[in-house]
């Protein structure tokens, strides 16, 4: 299948495979992204991959849309490289003040809290892409038995590290922000730290497994990661 190419304003081109969430399509998105980056034409500013689409941001003072579109056509069949996929273990305290919605998630799905923890932490998740906020990973592959709709009224303040569920997705808030996902736990890990290289803990293509931990472990890890007492 060949994707569609369209202008997204005067300085970006959108490559779209249609609205699907699919591992093979996402592999192709990342293959094109890395091929374009590797070739690094002089008009290229950056690439932004998502589920089934990829944005190529360019400098229109160096190349017009037609020229960029022509050049991009040469990358659409980029080979999917079997790139090294890391398995990142993310420790999580489930429930209590760390995951105030876990009881709701359990009740709504006819499960116990322990079932929710067991189901959520057994799965290996794929990082489709990072977006929305710095370091926010769009994770795929959650077990539908714990799928839960978003809050009707989003919270004004979700602490950094909160692990949430929204429909069939799960994810981790990298920064304190407003948010409408059902919170089931919290990781002490720092998902985004501008002083690190790379600044994000997770990269597209990584696999993630959540490891249940105790509150005491959370405190210890939190202090090591953030350099302060837990809040």
């Amino acid at each position: 299948m060949q994707p569609e190419l369209k202008p997204a304003g005067d300085s970006a081109l959108l490559i779209s495979f249609g609205e699907v969430i699919d591992d093979y399509v996402n592999d192709r998105v990342h293959a094109i992204a890395s091929a374009v980056e590797k070739a690094s034409p002089d008009w290229l500013i950056e690439v932004v991959p998502a589920y089934s689409s990829l944005l190529v941001v360019y400098d229109p003072l160096k190349a017009g849309y037609g020229e960029v579109e022509e050049a991009i056509k040469g990358f659409l069949d980029a080979k999917i490289e079997a790139f090294e996929s890391r398995l990142v273990e993310v420790p999580v305290v489930y429930g209590g003040e760390y995951g105030p919605d876990i009881e709701f998630v359990a009740r709504r799905n006819g499960l116990t809290i322990d079932d929710v923890i067991e189901i959520h932490s057994r799965q290996v998740y794929r990082v489709y892409f990072l977006g929305f906020l710095p370091g926010f990973a769009y994770l795929g592959g959650m077990d539908e038995r714990i799928a839960t709709p978003r809050l009707e009224r989003p919270r004004l303040r979700v602490p950094a590290g909160s692990v949430g569920i929204a429909g069939k997705q799960t994810g981790i808030y990298p920064l304190e922000s407003p948010g409408g996902w059902r919170l089931i736990g919290r990781t002490p890990l720092r998902l985004f730290d501008p002083a690190r290289e790379p600044p994000t803990l997770l990269q597209p293509g990584d696999r993630v497994r959540f490891i249940p931990i105790e509150e005491s472990e959370f405190r210890e890890l939190y202090e090591r990661e953030w350099g302060v007492e837990g809040d």
């Binding site: 005067d10 992204a33 941001v57």
Partner: protein, 334 residues
């Protein structure tokens, strides 16, 4: 060094932004009004992208603890040691001098540029503050700023003629857009509504996005939500209530609402400077035209830079009944 004495509103250090990290979810950020900010830099002899101060509506009061040359872009009352001075002009400040910047009479964002630029810690390649992610923070009274090295001689008393200053006083303006890329999520009537109606900038607008009020844009049967896709500053998203939201410099990098259009790069600063209540009309141009407009704007900015450096002269001319500014090169003798 500069010491901030009073900070009445949002005051941040900004430069041309933080490209290269959007794939990690880090927004571009940078000058909300790149046109004014670049000119402010040119007036004090800096490259256009040098870090400067961006203020919202009301400017700060600050004290110079070393000599400097500065310029303010924006229609505000300025006082240096209590004496009124002109915006869009470079001024010499001595150690101990106090600059007070008043409220903008029009527009939303003003800029204070210093010769040599503001020295700052570059985080992910830029000085632009994006406080949400710990990349810089809003400035407050008592903060001190260091300036980069610059030869000050010859950089003061540079003046941008009135005709060259951007005018943000109009209560209604036309903003040009390139339609797409999710047009299949809108009905033909919805696209017509978007292009044929007047929208008003609402107070729920900030560096991340401007919400507009006006006739609801109708979605097609595919609906308002899409599988999350990347977006850029200038993108116009339309959620289920049909009211357009224009993404600005601190926009998130991806979004899940259908995108009806993208504001052209040359016009985004016009929207950025639109106060709540400003009426906006959108006009569609194709991508080639948008890029030609941007190239023309770039030539104008380059000419303004050369004019301020004394390498070009500006003349007022009339062509086809319209008043324009023409630039000619200054021939160097010998």
């Amino acid at each position: 060094m500069i010491e901030l004495l009073k900070v009445p509103s949002l005051l941040t250090v900004q430069d041309s932004g933080r490209p290269g990290y959007r794939k990690l979810g880090v927004p571009l950020s940078g000058f909300m009004d790149d046109f004014s900010a670049r000119i402010a830099n040119y007036i004090v002899g800096n490259p256009g992208n040098a870090p400067l101060l961006e203020f919202l509506l009301a400017g700060p009061a600050l004290r110079f603890n070393a000599s400097s040359v500065f310029a303010v872009a924006g229609d505000a009352d300025l006082r240096l040691n209590g004496v009124p001075i002109e915006p869009w002009t470079s001024h010499w400040a001595k150690r101990g001098d106090v600059l007070e910047v008043g409220s903008l009479r029009s527009g939303l964002y003003g800029y204070i540029a210093f010769a040599g630029g503001i020295k700052c810690e570059r985080l992910l390649g830029s000085c632009s503050a994006y406080p949400k992610a710990g990349l810089g923070r809003p400035l407050k009274a008592g903060d001190e700023l260091n300036l980069g090295y610059a030869i000050l001689t010859g950089k003061d008393s540079r003046y941008l003629p009135l005709q060259l200053r951007p005018d943000y006083s109009s209560k209604e303006r036309e903003i040009r857009v390139v339609l797409g890329p999710n047009l299949e999520h809108f009905t033909d009537g919805g696209i017509e509504t978007f292009l044929g109606s007047v929208y008003t900038v609402t107070p729920e607008s900030d560096r991340m996005g401007y919400r507009l009020d006006g006739p609801a844009v109708e979605h097609s049967r595919r609906g308002a939500d899409i599988v999350t896709e990347p977006l850029v500053p200038g993108t116009v998203q339309v959620p289920a209530n049909g009211k357009p939201i224009v993404m600005m410099r601190d926009a998130q990098t991806t979004g899940g609402y259908a995108k009806i259009a993208t504001v052209i790069s040359a016009d985004l600063h016009l929207l950025a400077q639109s106060r709540p209540g400003t009426r906006v009309r959108f006009r569609a141009v194709d991508v080639e035209e948008a890029q030609e407009i941007l190239r023309r704007r770039e030539r104008t900015l380059n000419a303004i830079e050369k004019f301020l450096n004394g390498e070009m002269r500006a003349y007022r001319i009339r062509t086809f009944g319209e008043e324009r500014i023409a630039f000619t090169k200054v021939e160097k003798e010998g």
